[in-house]
Symmetry: D4
Subunit: 146 residues, 8 copies
């Protein structure tokens, strides 16, 4: 069995690469997916559908095109890792966490101790809270062992 | 039919009261619910279950007790209003939005134009974006008219 | 038991009134609901949320506000009556029929013999095809009899 | 991952071929399905099951045989493209849109600006509105990128 | 709590009355529902919708009108009692049993020892097999006790 | 795509073989499954689990072991063909039809004109009624065409 | 809103009465339900359906009659309290916990510190672990506050 | 078709190996999965996520990491075998049984006659009760036969 892991959240650090490399080194039967993580491409995802005068329109159009991708990937994955970094609002990461929770799909939250209090609802619905990508890889090793 | 409306998000302004008053003035058949909005009580929700040495433990315990309440109320409501204010991380509000979205349950987002970009995923799954509580009341008037 | 019947489709004739009156005369335990059937109000449903430069924006905003109402009513009703008149595109009526079908919720289609061919998919998923409101009332009499 | 895309709606223009060719040129991991698009075969789908005296009977029988195919394909696809052309009632396309919407399955609507108003409910539940097949191909390129 | 009990199957003996009387004597908080049990009315349920040349058409039309009633009642009941008598094919009773089973809804089968072998699939999915209406009443007494 | 077709019902004629051969001759991408059709083996399915004094016990034990197989196969198939022959009670076939119906899974009923009346509920929930295995093969040809 | 609380598990101490009294003293809008807690009656629940030679048969018959009651009550409650005492196997309590968990329905586990290790799976899926009935009452006070 | 069988429960005897060997000898198309059965590793599953002062914390953390694995495997398997041995509380086995039951997924219970009474709820929801691993293998042979 190949485990499908969806990597949600922060796009400004290389945490996805770290997890993928750790998993590759360990030779685990895991395949990864995520939203498009190229920030500019993501913001422009809907531009091909026509100009929008107000920024709300453009964001709306792009966010929906992104949703075509992300909802399908979330609904078909086995588990998620949801990363909160130190910058920006990151409401999309929390939104994804709520989405996983309502589907009853397991996820691991990944964030520093600094965010324990504001993320308490996100952590309460998670099956693990990790602070480093190494910990995530260790958990994956355990979870998928034959 | 009484419409059940769940009010999620910000607890540091009186937006809930404004909506409730507007609805009362209009005489609409709406009943409201929400998480416990007393911040201190909410943080201490799980304290009766025993002390926790680390702050993670306390937050975790309380967030889960809060979830007993909020999941039931969200799952039985007809629609949500999810408010984002100008302060704090408010990840729980975004988490609730994702929860509504995954359940296919309609919600109205309520926030100023400043947050349009970081809330684009939240707004993409919403059925309306309002900037004032008056707008929410007007939408409710329309939605529930006999 | 009160049967909840949702009346979808045409808003340019008085078919809803005819069914309601027939049901009232018969004294049946039926409560009705429907989308807002005031055409102008329906098209303007989202206007309170702000101006939209393009007509797509205005229609989009209003259609979503209407959806807050109609999805809830469809999901909580016991059966639907979906009416196709002789004018206009009426794609919203066919959309509602598909929505009922996917939910596995019973509906009666109501249209003249002229539309049998283009409505064959809609009729294939219906549990009855009626041509007059009298027939609908007769079916309701049968369905809800104590 | 192969993305499964269901192409619904108009059968009197070559929009399906255009999308398939665009996807093939781009080398995307997409497989397509659709209802049987041979009009005569579709109308006769149930004829093997016996003659029907009234046209309603024939249409009904064929529409149901078609439904054996289309419901399975819609339920197992990842997303839909739903096309409205300039001719005919096309109620089956709107029916399919409602079916996708009730399943919470993403779809792209494809139609000219002329139909914005009558299709507002269909567009309100869509995750993108495209006016050309080139736009659909561009969206697919974005959605399925590795 | 009022328990909703659906009584399915045989319409040629007074087993429904026996159960209702037993429940009334015991003063249990139970409300009953069932298909329309007037055989002639049931066969003619769809006749108001127009004549059908072949008997298949008439039966089909009536069976669907009956389904509007029975599916709703089955889906909203708490448990079923499914009765098999000694005469006729009674495939509709077995059909209802399968419907209950697939919904995961509990039912009691009610039939004599003679039918144990041909009803083994029906009984395997039942939560009780009763041979007399008195037994059904006794089970209901137990199940609904405060 | 391989279509998974479940063949339910009669085990005393070679209708399954006829359909399989017709499909093979036509080269259709269809895989078949069914309950164990060896009557004696089916009745003895649970015997390995221990003796049962009463016939009810033996039938019950075997019917449940059969259900391990049949429920899984029904839930994972794409469509069913449900056959009623001229002999025996065949309540298990009607039970399977109800199971398909409650799951919203399409099925074709296969029986002679003699059974139209007693099978009207089964046919009302079917998407096609065939009288011969040739008709079933023709419908399958249409449904699965590339 | 009345909160429906299902009390599962131990039947040899008065923990149910303690919680009910605490809730009554506090005047909370809570209604309780549970399995039949009269041990002898519960073991004999199916006896009315006929004698069973082996103890397996009797237990089986009674457990199924009990399931008619308990599954309905669990599926319609808002939350559960699941109690583990110091005696007996109490596998039914753990079974109920798994049932709540798979339904995504919140529950509070109630047991002494001695059982922390063997109940770790049960507690991992719970939203609160209480050691005393007073704690349960306090949590309920918080959860249902207006 | 490969049948996916999840083996739950006792980890202190070699019953899993016995079933796997029996299946291998018979050449059945079955693939097995289970929780991690190395007791020490299982108890330490969450240790990588950080120390926990109280034993509750450690157990909780590990049980949740185990749940990432087991819930996914249970939800994707075709059937379960749930084993109760003679020692320990084994509440996790009963929890798994409840989880299978609520999902409507078939399982075989495997335990000696000694436990018939305390496991009556677990057995009432099972589709077979086996006392030996040989019996399980025989049932699997029957269930998966081509």
């Amino acid at each position: 069995m190949n485990w499908k892991v969806y990597l949600a959240g922060e796009i400004h650090s290389d945490w996805r690469q770290q997890i993928m490399e750790g998993v590759q080194v360990a030779g685990l039967p895991v395949v990864f997916s995520s939203a498009v993580t190229d920030h500019q491409a993501s913001d422009a995802a809907g531009d091909v559908l026509g100009d929008q005068e107000r920024s709300f329109g453009r964001d709306h159009q792009s966010a929906k095109v992104n949703a075509i991708r992300t909802r399908t990937l979330i609904q078909t994955c086995d588990l998620g890792v949801i990363r909160f970094g130190d910058q920006y609002k990151q409401w999309n990461a929390a939104f994804d966490a709520g989405y996983f929770a309502a589907l009853g799909k397991p996820y691991i939250s990944l964030h520093s101790e600094d965010h324990v209090h504001p993320l308490k609802e996100v952590d309460a619905a998670a099956l693990a809270w990790a602070q480093t990508t190494e910990q995530v890889v260790e958990v994956l090793k355990y979870v998928v062992r034959e």
